[in-house]
């Protein structure tokens, strides 16, 4: 039976299945609420006041030179950032997953951390690391002169940090796939005397191509929508990208700008859509069916190369994680910004102030943990049936729906937030509850924003499943929901948990969406750090940032403790 015939038979079976129909309707309503509604509301705003005169907002946006400059800059920084992310992510991914390197879990753990640190904190710590007041450079006596140009205030500086920030996304996507690579393929190749190179070119790379493309697309999209890094490194240098242009328009000129801003964000949304379709097209050309997880994955012996490679990894980690983190810790322990840290100046006053005096700290921790946990949970629950249904749709409609889901993640958080204000400012019909000004609106925005983050690994895993398994179950009379739980779920569980975990770790530090949606009593950690930093309290901001890093590192360690009891691959930094 050819695959296409098999698939058609599958579709026929589905169309008569009532269970499946209800599931589909429910899920499509959910997508409509989470993805299409905010996008539509924005489109409406962008097209409002649309006349045929030359002064309608959309025309003005397209005619403005700044739009095109920002667009060019966005492409440049995100493209370069993605390149850096792919090189870093793949390098680490291959070495850590496929070789007999020592202390594997620790490498992965440390490589994941940069993503968990809020972007504006990353930017802050890098600035402190390379500026004239850098505590580390000052100790070494090689600090730059006062007022000398700051190398980080540049397009390349932005791209570098974007790359480091999104490298774990590529890494995770690749690793999920690498873990599933079966040993028997390699053995077969070795039996037929294939060279190392042939194994890479003919087996490993083709099987990973779709994961790398997915990771790169995720990195590109998250770089395109990143606000924290270009805001802190680009605005001072007069270098605008689309999200900072939008932010400046909103912050400087207020709500009259709303329709122009909506127009700008539609441009980003279209770009992302185009990118996603391209990615899906590329991925379809490189699909191979794998039978879930095998008992043992590939492992190359490194022999004399092991130590140099380990040292290289350590050097990279020092550069991207240890040094900025040290700079951050140092700046949380001084009494005021710009002071050197020594035995006389060291103080824990900032920590005391934030933990002991400010009620907002505990509240922000509580709110962020709550939002992140429930977003991850709900999205995991949704991703399973949604991924399943999407895989059964014809190629073209799947591409369309997957792209729709992608849009809210891709448009800058600040714009998504405006869409949600426009949608939910008034009390909900029927139940007369106002979501505005509650955690609920942030929660919904998170669901909308991170659905694609959770769905991506799930879809990628499902697309690798051999349909024969499910067909067998169907022939044996299993209904869709039963098949979903007994067959699909166990086989894709790792991807599924990886997705949920990603959502949690991204949401706990989220800034741009909550920056506009937060209200009294509903602060998030990202908002707290950004506001402190903006009002000049960098020392306090650093203290909170240090606490956040500790929290995330603690959570990740805790999960590692449970790793032996969980299915393989559930925790990305553990085998």
């Amino acid at each position: 039976m050819t695959p296409s015939l098999l698939k058609r038979r599958f579709m026929d079976g589905a169309s008569v299945d009532g269970q499946l129909r209800w599931l589909s309707i429910g899920l499509f309503i959910l997508i409509a609420i989470l993805s299409v509604l905010p996008s539509l509301r924005l489109l409406l705003e962008a097209l409002s006041h649309m006349t045929f005169s030359a002064s309608s907002p959309m025309v003005e946006v397209l005619r403005s030179e700044r739009t095109w400059t920002a667009l060019r800059n966005s492409f440049y920084t995100s493209g370069l950032g993605t390149l850096i992310a792919v090189v870093l992510g793949c390098g680490f991914g291959f070495v850590v997953t496929l070789t007999n390197i020592r202390g594997r879990a620790i490498w992965v753990f440390c490589f994941m951390l940069p993503m968990m640190i809020p972007p504006q904190v990353t930017a802050l710590s890098w600035l402190q690391l390379f500026g004239p007041a850098s505590p580390i450079l000052n100790t070494l006596g090689i600090e730059p002169a006062l007022g000398s140009p700051q190398p980080m205030y540049s397009a390349e500086g932005i791209a570098l940090l974007l790359g480091i920030q999104s490298a774990p996304l590529v890494f995770l996507a690749l690793r999920t796939q690498l873990i599933a690579l079966p040993q028997d393929l390699l053995e077969a190749a070795q039996l037929s005397r294939a060279s190392q190179l042939r194994v890479w070119v003919d087996i490993i790379l083709p099987l990973c191509r779709s994961a790398i493309i997915a990771g790169a697309a995720l990195a590109f999209v998250s770089s395109l929508g990143n606000f924290g890094i270009p805001a802190m490194l680009g605005i001072p240098a007069g270098y605008i990208v689309l999200p900072t242009l939008i932010y400046q328009q909103m912050a400087g000129f207020g709500n009259e700008m709303l329709s122009q801003v909506a127009g700008l964000s539609m441009i980003i949304a279209l770009l992302v859509l185009a990118g996603m379709l391209l990615q899906q097209w590329l991925q379809q050309r490189s699909r191979y069916a794998l039978l879930g997880h095998t008992a043992q994955s590939l492992s190359f012996r490194l022999k004399q190369w092991r130590l140099p490679l380990e040292m290289l990894l350590a050097l990279v980690l020092c550069f991207i994680l240890v040094a900025p983190l040290c700079a951050l810790i140092v700046s949380s322990l001084v009494p005021a910004l710009g002071m050197p840290l020594n035995a006389d100046t060291i103080t824990f006053a900032a920590f005391y102030e934030m933990i002991g005096r400010q009620g907002v700290t505990a509240r922000a921790f509580e709110n962020s943990a709550f939002l992140a946990f429930f977003s991850a949970l709900v999205l995991m629950l949704v991703s399973l049936p949604l991924g399943y249904l999407l895989m059964r749709l014809p190629m073209r409609s799947r591409a369309v729906i997957a792209s729709l889901i992608e849009v809210p993640y891709a448009i800058p958080g600040i714009v998504l937030a405006i869409a949600f204000i426009l949608l939910f400012a008034k009390p909900l019909p029927f139940i007369e509850v106002s979501l505005y000004g509650t955690l609920g609106i942030i929660f919904l925005a998170y669901l909308s924003c991170f659905l694609s983050v959770c769905l991506k690994p799930v879809l990628s895993a499902m697309s690798q499943l051999d349909p024969a398994l499910e067909e067998a179950a169907q022939l044996a009379g299993a209904r869709p929901i039963q098949r979903l739980i007994d067959i699909i779920l166990p086989l894709t569980a790792p991807a599924f948990f990886a997705g949920g975990l990603l959502v949690f770790l991204i949401a706990i530090n989220e800034l741009t969406v909550s920056a506009l949606l937060w209200s009294a009593g509903n602060e998030t950690l990202g908002v707290l750090i950004f506001n402190l930093d903006e009002s000049g309290d960098s020392v306090l901001a650093s203290a909170i940032a240090v606490l956040v890093v500790l929290l995330v590192a603690g959570l990740m360690s805790l999960l590692s403790l449970f790793a032996p009891r969980l299915p393989r691959g559930v925790i990305p930094w553990h085998d």
């Binding site: 500026g131 007069g238 008034k426 919904l444």
Partner: protein, 325 residues
């Protein structure tokens, strides 16, 4: 369908705690730094134990964007505003969003510090002057120094697109006969960096990225007192000033508590708190905080709130054109 229902239930559950709040919760929107806002709230709550204050902090322009979005959707969250400048308050008055309240404490204040109808009251004086890093080679004494060649690419300033105080600073300097718009053009030609708000300037100067800057007095003076390697300079020509006014929203459901908040800020006790926080109090009989010169030695440049409001959009656009092309 179950999913949707669950979601709605979740949303309702999330919204619930806020809908059962006690009556005496006062919501404050403020642009004070976090630490000061907390201090203000703590002191007020200690003096009025029956009122609980919930507060939101953000930069004045961003806070107003948020508030305007809320107002246009018919939702009024705050009872009281405590934000950087009188120009923003003027615009709220002209749009009819504020509630006039004649506080009994107003007789202690100069007429120029509050609106005659009682729409808003200045609570402190925040001036904008020059800051330098202590290791910096130059010693600027006036605004005109910042456009000299030796300051090229060395100056940071707050952007009026982000900060209300910076917008008033711009209006004050551009109204000055000797400085004018030409001054801002020259600043741009000298590659002055117009960062986000005043916090950004503090970071740039204290960390040595830019050794000189324009900044609000308290940020620099307070950090210098703590040991940061910077010093604040009152320029010879004078300084611009904002008054951080407080006002009550017309649609506030809790006007009695709001009035008590206004009275508290204007009382001797409230003003001593301002002094303790390191600001110049609006009341002249309280004294000046550590690190400030004598009150009579601070020269204020003239400023017209109504005109500034009229010009503010044009000023922002013109600034944006000069600095961002």
């Amino acid at each position: 369908m179950n999913l949707k229902k669950t979601l709605l239930l979740c949303a309702a559950a999330l919204a619930f705690p806020l809908s059962v709040q006690a009556q005496d919760v006062l919501t404050l929107y403020t642009s004070q730094p976090n630490k000061d806002a907390q201090m203000t709230v703590d002191a007020f709550e200690a003096a009025n134990p029956d009122i609980k204050v919930e507060w939101v902090r953000d930069g004045t322009t961003k806070l107003m964007t948020k508030l305007r979005a809320e107002l246009s959707s018919g939702v009024v969250k705050p009872d009281v505003l405590l934000i950087a400048d009188s120009v923003t308050m003027e615009s709220m008055v002209s749009d009819g969003y504020l509630y006039p309240y004649l506080s009994p404490n107003r007789d202690q204040y100069e007429d120029s510090l509050y609106s005659a109808e009682g729409y808003y009251y200045g609570t402190k004086l925040i001036t904008t002057g020059i800051v330098r890093h202590k290791k910096a080679p130059q010693h600027p004494t006036d605004w005109s120094d910042l456009i000299k060649p030796e300051y090229k690419n060395q100056v940071a300033m707050p952007s009026p697109l982000y900060s209300g105080a910076a917008l008033i600073h711009l209006a004050t300097l551009t109204d000055d006969k000797t400085l004018g718009w030409n001054y801002y053009q020259q600043l741009h030609d000298n590659q002055a960096m117009a960062q986000g708000g005043n916090g950004g300037v503090l970071k740039a100067v204290a960390s040595g990225t830019k050794p000189y800057g324009m900044i609000v007095d308290f940020l620099a003076i307070r950090e210098a007192e703590k040991g940061s390697p910077i010093e604040f300079i009152f320029p010879k020509t004078g300084v611009s000033m904002v008054t951080e006014p407080v006002a009550i929203m017309k649609d506030s459901n809790n006007k009695a508590a709001a009035k008590r908040f206004v009275d508290f800020l204007l009382s001797k006790e409230g003003q001593s708190l301002v002094l303790k926080q390191g600001y110049l109090p609006a009341r002249s009989d309280i004294g000046v905080p550590k690190g400030f010169p004598k009150r009579e030695n601070i020269h204020l440049m003239p400023f017209n709130a109504a005109k500034t409001l009229r010009d503010s959009e044009a000023n922002k656009a013109r600034f944006s054109k000069i600095f961002e092309g």
